[in-house]
Symmetry: C3
């Protein structure tokens, strides 16, 4: 466990819980928008917060932390109660650029600890696994209520580039054995900044060339 944590356990745990809480709010708010009842709010809050981490743990063969850590499990329930009573206020705060940027940033927070990403990098596809972890909860959340996942929507500001930037810096740090709490935080800040700029200036990723032909050729 010594080298599996970038931060002191207490700090790491607090960062994790804050991240889980923020992700939970996004799930709970989507449930309110979809007119679901309080159990639906709780389900989407849990799924948004923990879905990506559970999937990551299944892939690396570890027992899912989400089912073993009481804090991981109860934090989304707290978010559920908050959303249930105060969702208009939460919605307003949730749309603040700072929080949206935080949700997209590249390093440690929420159930996506940097370590699995780091160790996975040795296997070559670690960046992809990191993305799965981070984006997984949001994708499951959206799929459950039949929405096109935000991750895939063209009309949302750039999401993948900041995450990939953070992931790439982390990858370089790992391979040069320089990954620690400070450099890890730095990678996170770079990703955060790129995401802030993307939100502020509404950067978009390019779509396929010659789309006019595609739009006519539907497979139905």
């Amino acid at each position: 466990m010594t080298d599996s944590q970038l931060f002191a356990p207490d700090v790491q745990q607090t960062l994790d819980l804050i991240g889980i809480f923020v992700f939970s709010l996004s799930g709970g708010l989507l449930a309110v928008r979809k007119n679901l009842d309080i159990f639906g709010i709780a389900v989407l809050a849990e799924v948004a917060a923990l879905g990506g981490g559970v999937f990551r743990d299944l892939i690396i063969g570890a027992p899912p932390a989400a089912f073993q850590n009481r804090g991981y499990f109860f934090t989304p329930l707290v978010a559920t109660v908050v959303v249930f009573f105060l969702h208009p206020e939460v919605e307003r705060i949730n749309n603040a650029v700072l929080l949206r940027a935080a949700r997209g940033r590249g390093v440690s927070c929420g159930p996506a600890r940097p370590t699995p990403t780091a160790s996975a990098l040795a296997g070559g596809a670690g960046v992809a696994r990191g993305l799965v972890t981070r984006a997984g909860g949001g994708v499951v959340r959206d799929v459950l209520v039949n929405e096109l996942p935000s991750l895939l929507r063209w009309d949302r500001a750039l999401y993948a580039v900041p995450a990939l930037t953070g992931g790439a810096i982390t990858a370089v740090l790992v391979s040069t054995h320089h990954l620690n709490a400070y450099t890890g935080t730095f990678a996170g800040l770079v990703a955060f900044t790129v995401r802030m700029l993307a939100l502020r200036y509404d950067w978009r990723a390019p779509r396929a060339w010659h789309r006019e032909s595609a739009s006519s050729g539907s497979e139905s």
Copy 2:
């Protein structure tokens, strides 16, 4: 294995297969409603019956029982044939209050045996895992055909409260070392009764406060 079964193996197996059959019918009927062919009926029957159990087994790291037990696998195929030829009759029976209550009840039946729930309770989030097991198949079934999962629908009678009631009683029984075939059946009967009442009197769970603001604020 001795303490992993509340009932004698034969009884447990029979209860499991009955539960799987009932869940399979719900999947098959949804497939018919969606106008799918016989293979679609079989896929939804299998998924509805076994999806939750497979997910539970993945989480606890056990080889999925659904892929190892011939009975688990072939029972949904029997349900497929029944639905294929007799779906109007099955639809009528399936909507009977008794069966709908049985599908929602809180303890043992279908691939969701009480033991994993029980042992998971030591980990704190066992009730959630029990819910995942029980509701998982239905959720995957609904997501596959682009329906909002019944579990999340506000306009369906109360589903979570009976299941949580059963789960809570089971949790108390486990922690006081009183869980056995009789008390387990009792917990199931309580959950079943609550579910019957919810269906009969059309109980609903509350939705978020101040929804009027939410309905106008669509994220589109």
Copy 3:
């Protein structure tokens, strides 16, 4: 490892990568049709190509090959670039009968190697697991963008029968210890031929009897 490969490792790897590339194209094209950006194309290409194999590996408890093999991971990215610049041409080629038949054929190609199917057959439900592997990527791909999975659509030509034919022949070969590179190729060719005939003559699977009653009885 000696008996886990029907073909020489190099040949197997090449066949795998070709299969992954073909499946990736189907994911990328769907992304273009859905107007997603280049990251959406990449995500659907990866999911379509590797989703089924990841799910299979989770079920059999093996570390997912898709996350460990660089070739498996980068091939869909190559397909992404190809689709991004040339999708009208790719769309045309992709709809050719030969390729569509190849995607549906019953044996080895893509991340679905025959061995897990073969070893799973001992457990009785191996054909189902083989189907999951092969169809899984396509199902996840379609669910992500809120489409009814092709696998379940009645208005698509017969898909399951060729796959089941190939699976059944393989099962017989395994149980009689005659499965090798030649007989495995033969099983694949039979499945391929049946699929070609199904596409050419537009064979469909039957839907449930008495559907008129079902279409009126919607559950809404």
